[in-house]
Symmetry: C2
Subunit: 783 residues, 2 copies
């Protein structure tokens, strides 16, 4: 809280000076100082990046990366510590690859180079484009094995030298004594390599490497050495994104001395014939799998800078991005810019946490919340659409990387408070996706102009409706409604035809039928809200009916949501502890039976009233889950669970808040503090599961501030138990909301009362409108 | 000569009527009639297409195709009679595939469908994009074997029903009783299928099929069923063109009833997981190898029309091409337009040949001369460049398919007379290629935004210089000179570094060293001419020196051009009959020793004067070549040779004219008539070898008219012995040149004298300027 101190100091100083009758001058100073605190612009000298540790989550299964990135930047330039293929030679899936969703594990000491695109925290993976590895001595094109430095270009990280901060990464490569630094802009990665004085300076450009690599992943690679300091090209891959093209332009700070490449294809036919040596100093390269190398004069100057620009559109687009964003050869300047960008974004919530560890947990969570979706257009507004055509973004900025099943819950609602303009652009990007979709549909889980169909529901809907309800978007409501309705009626999507016919997704028609029914129902409620909003009563009625579909999969006798076949028979056998093959996904019947975020009161009544509901929640948090049931769940480990509550997976994220509705807010408060204290931390293993593109982190930000959007699409936030001592939020309307947790302490986890601008809040919820009024929200903490 | 008769008739009628004193009216009629003959616009009712037989060259090794195409159109919609792969399962090259360079052999009865891109007459192949095959009954996605109709979708041609004319192809498929008709515009193929009344109407869309197919040829395929009458997408292939993308838009005249596809990839990984049936009625398809099918209601209406548009840029580009070129569903109209386009082009030379067979030979040769290069840009001027980026053609129309080693000789010179505007666009396309090339270089052999590096020399140079010398291009001379000079100095290209150092290409540095030296020398002479033209004396001097490089590979002792190593030693052993491994390509030392087209007089002197030279030529035409030597030559058969003169390959095309320079023009005349009579004809096997993108045909057109450009880049044409009786040419300047061969007969093969507008030509050459003056060129034929 340096800034607050500074502010206080000025106040005191002001009063003293006033006595000396130089009121006018000081009023001006004060005004400027005051504004400076309020706007939290870069002029604010407070360095929030000091509390961000990009290594948090890079151990265990957090799936974060430590590399250089700016907020929502397309370039995430980060080290790769594995070259692990997704399948063994025999075609068996290699489970170990899951650890490398973001390309990096803190415990590793191998270094395979630095690549330019990564997911943060996802539970499946792709990307890892354009890996550069500096080496000395002879050119090695084989990556090599982690334990055997002689086997390829693989190097060894000097772990003691490794540092990372927002927009910056630095390491010494122990075996070659090369010092590497990385920084970035939105579309350009900047590398700085200092080679040792002795030895050849080479750069390996591995265009075969991929995250989740498999032998058919590379589709095509095209490279041109335009001149002795510029290389351009593109790569197309077939991975999680099926038809993905990324273009690049790479510039060097000093001329290439010599270069070459090798195509590692199973060459059956290579055109008519090749008469001249194309592997050395020949400026055109193409193939499915290729690696290139560049050699630089190292005698006079050991520093090599590389600018590496990306584009989804074209090589010339990438080059224009480079020229616009990094016109000069000034690594320090780009780094400073990156840090300033982060300070601007992180400063949108100025918090005081009980400990430095908490402070780091908070700001690293905020950092992780601001990594994606990423800007996906060139500086001229051209971008590649879902139809693989090039479009111009008119009236918006195009974003990609929508992990919507995760992020509709807390991340996009967080953006509605802290990144309203960006969220508006994201909503518009989703509508552009809809217009370009052949179905047409809003995105499900999309990245890089591809729908990867991961997970269930149509959760673009709550993101769009939440933005509309909260007034942060200026999209055309009729178009938004059409897009939501059309998406919800695509018959071949995930059992929707049956859902529309029967009122539920039958278990014999498709997998995860109950989860789908419940999530469709919630999304449909959002559509009803939007229809209501636009005055379309009959549509609102239709979707309000669909929103009650959860009733159809509730087995009153067993007291659980339960799979039912098309004939109406409950699925047998039925074990509510088991997810596997039981009509659920990433959560068992215990968890999913609580997923009616839009009608919690009705759910409580349905399941036997408040007492029974509280008992059910208590059981969830205290029961014992067997190892077998864990194994049958996707994507969780013991670290991320409390009883049968799985914080590592999203379907339960709203659950601790549900006690509120059943008259037991203290239990909400208790559970929240427990989750915040046990599932988050500032250690390398500080994330209890995949960060899921920021959803896990966004959950923390909300909960630490004391409220949470249980049902996005509604303007209400459930109140919890803040972890902060104080927080100052810049609201979308320019106002300030100060949050204070009076008597905050590890023991005082309960909230005695809540006051907004001096008026007690009697409900267990607070509305977006109330927050937007700004002022002071005080939680009176007790034990 | 209908038109000439009509003209005479009017003259007579005119005189008669004049006597009746209605002079004014008839003068007007005469004037209009006269103009109509002169302009030869579509208003001219003469149907030149009657003398075109697209089947000529589809037997034997002509490598022509019979399908529907308009002059220089990108779409060549033609039947495929083979599904032969380029390599056996064991990876052995399948020599038989060579017969299918254009996808079709007249003798076949199998039909695999109709694809949209073909080369005409090339000696290597690629393309064959987007094969459509109509079938009845059950969907078959396997192509099947030629002899076994049950094995796949392969059908049987009813040969009696097969007809083809410019812009039109028709056949009945015997086994299914489907009647198929094809026509085309520049960018759109139009199919008309009449299905039998009984049975299901299906269309197989084989996106795996390729000409010169191999298992790694398909790189990626992307298909969208936009709605029930429109499908879009693209395919990328790796063949002769390494990075080739073709986009399409396909529209149907009636709605798709159901559809599906199958991906035949060795699927190792298909994204995260697929939850719903993507193989049936799912509108997004993608993969390396896929085939789709579409089913149509056949009960009420058995006709199905398909518009199939291409683009090198994008699917939306293809769709715009379709909308612009074929806005309506009117097959007959498109066909009529295509025929009119052909009549306009073919009518540019109105000839009377001795026989109908000759007439057919001539006009089919003219037809084959006007098939490529092809327009390669969208209707909006966007095109894909060599850099794989999308460019806008400003101030020109972009063309592709430059088989320059072949076509610099006679085809482009023919264009300078008959297609000056198109040739200007081709020259500009070559310069655009230069600007987009990373080397940068003018095209060598390029197609579809790729350099395939086939054959030797840099023969864009003579094409550009010929156009400049003949005044048919308005390119910037400085840019043209820069492009030519730069291209001729790329050190890694084909031994150019050594050529520049030593004055010849050494045999130990690269293959075909003598052929390269000789062709570089000729190209360099063209550059010298251009330098002279722009007033750059020192450059002219430098390149005139390079133009004499042929002297360095002439072995005076043996009397042949002979391979020499870098140390200056003649290669041993040396057999002037043998091409193989002897420093030559597509011609042995006998042929190549005569390749100094720019300094024939100096060559004659070098090789011992006129008498020795004539004797040498006589030997060439009369000696016996062994089967072994034929086998060692590329690309020739006994059909295309006379003695050791190989008309089927290009290096000798100027040779029969060389007698002229040694004072033996009668021998030129004799040989030419012999070649025209034995190497050309109106039969299916009427071409003695590959038509080579029109070069063989263009040779015939020139020779039949009585003159030939021995050294393009020079304004001179060597005089020969015309085969025509009369010809009327529309010249680039709008004037008319009438050619007459008086006393033309099979015996009168010698030219007694030649008169231009009544003045005898004493030289054995005639200049472009002389031709441009128009008027009457009379050959007085004798025996």
């Amino acid at each position: 809280m340096k800034d607050a101190n500074l502010y206080n100091l000025f106040l005191v100083y002001n009063i003293v000076l006033m006595k000396r009758n130089i009121v006018i001058i000081l009023a001006a100073i004060f005004a400027s100082c005051n504004q400076h605190v309020i706007d939290n612009q870069p002029v604010n000298q407070k360095d929030y990046t000091q509390w961000v540790n990009p290594f948090i989550g890079t151990g265990n299964m957090g799936h974060t990366f430590p590399g250089a990135v700016v907020p929502f930047g397309m370039v995430q330039l980060s080290p790769e510590t594995s070259n692990m293929p997704m399948f063994s030679e025999k075609g068996e899936y290699n489970k170990e690859v899951y650890r490398y969703c973001a390309g990096y594990q803190y415990g590793d000491s191998a270094l395979y180079g630095f690549s330019h695109t990564h997911f943060s925290g996802t539970g499946h993976s792709d990307l890892g484009d354009f890996r550069l590895m500096p080496i000395v001595g002879e050119v090695q094109l084989a990556p090599g094995n982690p334990g055997d430095l002689a086997s390829g270009y693989v190097g060894k990280l000097d772990k003691r030298s490794e540092t990372a901060s927002p927009g910056y990464y630095k390491v010494r490569i122990a075996d070659s004594d090369i010092h590497a630094e990385l920084t970035a802009t939105e579309r350009v990665g900047v590398h700085k390599y200092i080679f040792p004085e002795k030895g050849e300076a080479n750069l390996i450009f591995d265009l075969m490497s991929n995250i989740y690599h498999h032998k058919n992943k590379n589709v095509w690679t095209f490279v041109r050495v335009e001149n002795d300091t510029l290389v351009t090209g593109y790569r197309q891959t077939k991975g999680w994104a099926r038809t993905r093209k990324v273009y690049f332009a790479m510039a060097f700070s000093k001329p290439i001395q010599s270069y070459g490449h090798k195509v590692f294809d199973e060459v059956v036919y290579n055109g008519f014939y090749r008469r001249f040596d194309e592997e050395h100093n020949f400026p055109e390269m193409a193939g499915k799998n290729l690696r290139a190398w560049f050699r630089f004069d190292n005698a006079e100057n050991q520093e090599l800078l590389v600018k590496f620009a990306l584009s989804g559109v074209s090589s010339s687009g990438a080059l224009a991005n480079m020229k616009a964003e990094v016109p000069q050869w000034n690594f320090a300047h780009v780094h400073e810019q990156a840090r300033a960008k982060w300070n601007k974004e992180l400063g949108k919530v100025d918090v005081k946490m009980p400990t430095k560890a908490d402070q780091e947990t908070f700001y690293t969570a905020l950092y992780h919340s601001f990594l994606s979706p990423v800007v996906f257009e060139d500086v001229d507004g051209n971008y590649r659409g879902l139809d693989q055509e090039v479009h111009q973004s008119e009236g918006f900025t195009n974003y990609t990387l929508f992990s919507l099943w995760d992020t509709f819950r807390a991340l996009h609602p967080l953006f509605n408070l802290l990144q309203p303009e960006r969220n508006n652009n994201m909503v518009k990007s989703m509508l552009a996706n809809y217009r370009q979709s052949v179905h047409p549909m809003l995105p499900i889980w999309s990245h890089y102009a591809n729908e990867n169909w991961c997970m269930i529901g149509y959760h673009s809907v709550p993101v769009i409706v939440d933005a509309i309800v909260k007034g942060t978007t200026d999209v055309d409501l009729a178009e938004a409604l059409e897009a939501c309705v059309t998406t919800s009626q695509i018959p071949y999507f995930d059992g929707l035809d049956q859902y529309m016919k029967l009122g539920y997704v039958p278990s014999d028609a498709t997998s995860s039928s109950v989860s789908k029914t419940l999530e469709f129902a919630y999304d449909d409620w959002c559509i009803a809200e939007l229809a209501e909003n636009t005055g379309n009563k009959s549509l609102a009625e239709e979707y309000n009916k669909r929103a009650q579909s959860y009733l159809r999969v509730y087995d009153e006798q067993r007291g659980f949501m339960r799979p039912k076949d098309a004939a109406g028979n409950w699925r047998e056998p039925f074990d509510p502890m088991n997810t596997h093959g039981q009509g659920f996904i990433e959560g068992n019947a215990w968890t999913y039976s609580l997923f009616v975020p839009h009608q919690v009161e009705e759910l409580i009544e349905l399941t036997g009233g408040n007492k029974a509901f509280v008992a059910r929640l208590d059981s969830l948090f205290t029961m014992t889950i067997s190892d077998e049931d864990i194994a049958h769940n996707e994507d969780i480990t013991r670290d991320g669970i409390i009883g049968n509550y799985v914080h590592g997976n999203e379907p339960g994220h709203h659950i601790p808040y549900l006690y509120n509705w059943a008259g037991a807010p203290r239990k909400t408060q208790e559970r929240l503090r427990m989750i915040m204290d046990t599932m988050y931390g500032n250690e390398i293993e500080g994330l209890c599961g995949n960060d899921d593109a920021g959803q896990m982190s966004a959950w923390y930000i909300f909960s630490a501030l004391g409220f949470y959007p249980v049902a996005p699409g509604s303007p209400m936030y459930a109140l919890g138990s803040p972890k902060v001592e104080q927080a100052r939020m810049q609201l979308p309307n320019g106002k300030i909301l100060d949050i204070e947790a009076q008597d905050q302490s590890p023991e005082n986890i309960y909230v005695g009362r809540v006051e907004l601008n001096g008026v007690a809040i009697e409900d267990h919820q607070i509305s977006h409108e109330q927050l937007l009024a700004g002022g002071k929200l005080v939680f009176y903490m007790t034990n």
